[in-house]
Symmetry: C2
Subunit: 468 residues, 2 copies
């Protein structure tokens, strides 16, 4: 029977301590792959702690892949050689996460989180209440496959007013996240098509296409975005890109290149461009560049956007705008699908946009991120880091690029940062084809960096650069 | 310029009248394919009605496919030869639907709607308010790909208590509707697998598989469900079925056949059974038969259920339970996907289950449907219909089968019923391979039939049967 001391557990809760002890034993092979762990009840008796505590510790270990359970049999130690491949998203078990855990976390310049203060809880609650009291009949009628028309009207107006995109509400398809919409697009455009994505690029896009078993080609970008010659050579049919703000490089594709890309698409029937406009709301300086949808006269562009960045990634609402001829095909082939977003949230979001709250929210957030960005940039440039770093592509979206003069390899740099408490990624991390070339360019996603964290970021980076 | 009289519009609203006039002109080819309609402004001037009225009429025509719009150019008459193929789901434009329109509708024994009185609005609103005020930090943390653990815990407990299914919360994957989960399963189990579905069966299942370009075989059912010999002969890998209540036949697969099916699955590696338990909550008589998941010791069954039937089809929350070895594969291959259900609704549903409201709701609904069913059956058997009808498979779910002595062909019968104001489907409608054989069996989905409608149903059916 496992026996651990609970004498010096520091600030850990009981379950955390137990979880760490068992994890340590698994990692050090004191308990071997396939070994059965004691039942929750017997371990709780043996250690003199509650069953719930053991349950929480086991849940945490399961969610991180260290152990697995066989119903009615018990808990077994997993083969942890595969663990490093399990993506982070499945941890930690959210029922047992505490606010302390969140604040004790490493500084995260990789993920996007909407901070608590930035979600308009009271307005959302008010609108949700209004919807629940005054829209009851509509709440019980199945949404059309493309989404509630009231929401699509609201989005169409928003696109017209803030992005100068003029479309009919019927062209807008609402879905539970852009990943789901990619899946619909593969079904709409064809499993036999060749899909081209940006190299480097946002990994999830490649993962969705690959998971649908379609051919997915990685097209190198130059300093203006997708390389036309490489695109031509690839024999691709559908190009998926983010011309308004490429991730991770931050590049904004200029108008000339946009026309060239539209030229490529118009050259052959069946070619399409998926314009992923994921954070166009957060252009910090100057007017946004017109979208490709806007200058497309040959119905080649499928425009896509999401409320993940502008509202919260935990409300799953995204949408795409299909050209007229594709919307007809969509209704013919795919309208058997139910809309994946609940009516309740569709109506709430429609009110949020219609009543002007979304505009106010975006403006507030833009100014909030602007301040955050300026603060971080001024701290960097006024520190001794300044001589060793260059800030690039800082005018749009929620990240900029930090070019760092360092001899360290990109992955070494990120690893050392992580050990110092800073999660940061390099541009190299977003290449599908690993290369030995080091970019020395790092992605500074400042959306979740607090005022206090700013100091620590400077300290950690300085310590790393000047450590010799 | 189109000119219509608004003198005799009866009970129609202005926009409805305009919509009908233009539709009539399109159908009678007074306006031809490709013709440009007048702009909203000029038509409103010409007819002396508001622009909004024209806008609503045009929106309705667009949503039904009669016209289409080209942004910045105008509205054009569509090629309506294709219109009959456009599924009903895209109509009507919901922003302009009114309560009157809903109540004037035909009696619908095909679709499921949760009636207004049956959704627990006030409890849902209360719980949503609690979540919005007390779960703010958790609401902003991205859900694990399989769903919030609190909800998966609640579902696991519910399955244990009400279905005697014992699983770990980590085995449960929450998603925005079963259709979305089918898509995940194709990605998990393989695009190269052969999927077997029930013939006759629920059409959407075939549509999802076909839309994913996988081979989908239709396996005939006998009076116990899927035919084993046909299944063996089909060379299928994955069998998708509803053993607890087959749609549309209403058949409940007996335990012996369930074991045979498990035997089939166990015979070869890579074979799986998807057990779609969509309305097991509504067994009216006796205890539910154990699920196949329950008697599966070889990790072959993927259990699936939804809150669409038990709560409302407009809240998109479903889940599946993966066997342990598949859950590991799921986390490895597919955990890059974000969960498709919003945190807000996941937490609200978790509370709804945890605090006992779901159980109460199910019990209330079961008794409500029980009364509805008994009422309809007694009305039928005490009417002169009795001699010409037999009621079958009435013990489970929200529909039963009416076997009608009639010379009419199945499709003729349904068409005549529709013209009399009753939407009803026959079993023949759910065969993938159309056959000339007539079943004379009709599906009576009584979930949305009101007390008053019951009389009309009897009248319409009687008039049809005794019309000679």
């Amino acid at each position: 029977m496992l026996t651990y001391s609970f004498a010096n557990i520091g600030s850990d809760s009981l379950y955390e301590h137990l979880y760490k002890c068992i994890k340590k034993d698994i990692l050090s092979k004191n308990i071997s792959v396939g070994d059965k762990l004691p039942s929750k009840r017997s371990l709780s008796k043996n250690l003199g702690i509650s069953v719930i505590t053991v349950e929480n510790a086991y849940a945490q270990l399961i969610s991180e892949g260290y152990i697995y359970s066989i119903p009615k049999k018990g808990f077994y130690v997993a083969d942890i050689t595969a663990i490093s491949r399990i993506p982070e998203i499945i941890t930690p078990a959210d029922s047992i996460i505490s606010i302390e855990t969140i604040s004790r976390k490493k500084i995260d310049m990789i993920s996007n989180h909407t901070s608590l203060d930035n979600f308009p809880f009271s307005i959302w609650a008010k609108l949700m209440r209004e919807v629940l009291s005054s829209n009851q009949p509509e709440l019980m009628i199945n949404s059309p496959c493309g989404g509630i028309l009231k929401l699509r009207n609201a989005i169409a107006r928003h696109l017209r007013d803030y992005r100068d995109i003029h479309v009919e509400p019927i062209q807008i398809i609402v879905g539970a996240g852009t990943e789901y919409l990619y899946s619909l697009l593969v079904q709409l455009l064809g499993f036999d098509k060749i899909y081209a994505i940006e190299e480097p690029g946002y990994q999830k896009i490649a993962q969705v296409y690959t998971s649908h078993h379609v051919i997915c080609k990685h097209i190198p970008i130059d300093n203006q975005g997708i390389s036309i010659s490489e695109l031509e050579a690839s024999n691709s049919d559908v190009l998926h890109l983010s011309p308004s703000h490429h991730f991770p490089s931050g590049i904004i594709t200029p108008i000339s290149r946009r026309y060239e890309l539209l030229g490529w698409a118009s050259k052959k029937e069946g070619r399409y461009i998926i314009e992923d406009d994921y954070d166009s709301e957060f252009r910090m300086v100057g007017k946004p560049i017109p979208s490709m949808q806007n200058i497309d006269l040959s119905e080649k562009v499928i425009y896509m956007n999401t409320f993940n960045k502008s509202l919260s990634s935990t409300i799953r609402i995204s949408y795409m705008v299909l050209p007229m001829h594709l919307i007809n095909k969509f209704y013919k082939d795919l309208s058997f699908y139910s809309c994946t977003v609940s009516n309740f949230e569709q109506y709430t979001l429609a009110r949020f946009i219609d009543e002007g709250y979304f505009e106010k929210h975006i403006n507030r957030m833009r100014s909030y991120y602007h301040t955050k960005r300026d603060n971080l940039i001024s701290k960097i440039t006024s520190s001794r880091l300044n001589k060793y770093t260059t800030i690039l592509e800082e005018d749009s979206g929620l990240h900029f690029i930090l070019d760092i003069k360092t001899d360290m390899k990109d992955d070494e740099f990120c690893e050392l940062a992580l050990r110092s408490g800073l999660k940061i990624a390099s541009i190299s991390d977003f290449y599908a084809e690993p290369s030995s070339k080091n970019t020395h360019r790092f992605i500074v996603n400042y959306s979740s960096i607090s005022e206090e964290d700013t100091e620590r970021v400077i300290d950690i980076l300085s310590a790393m650069i000047f450590r010799k």
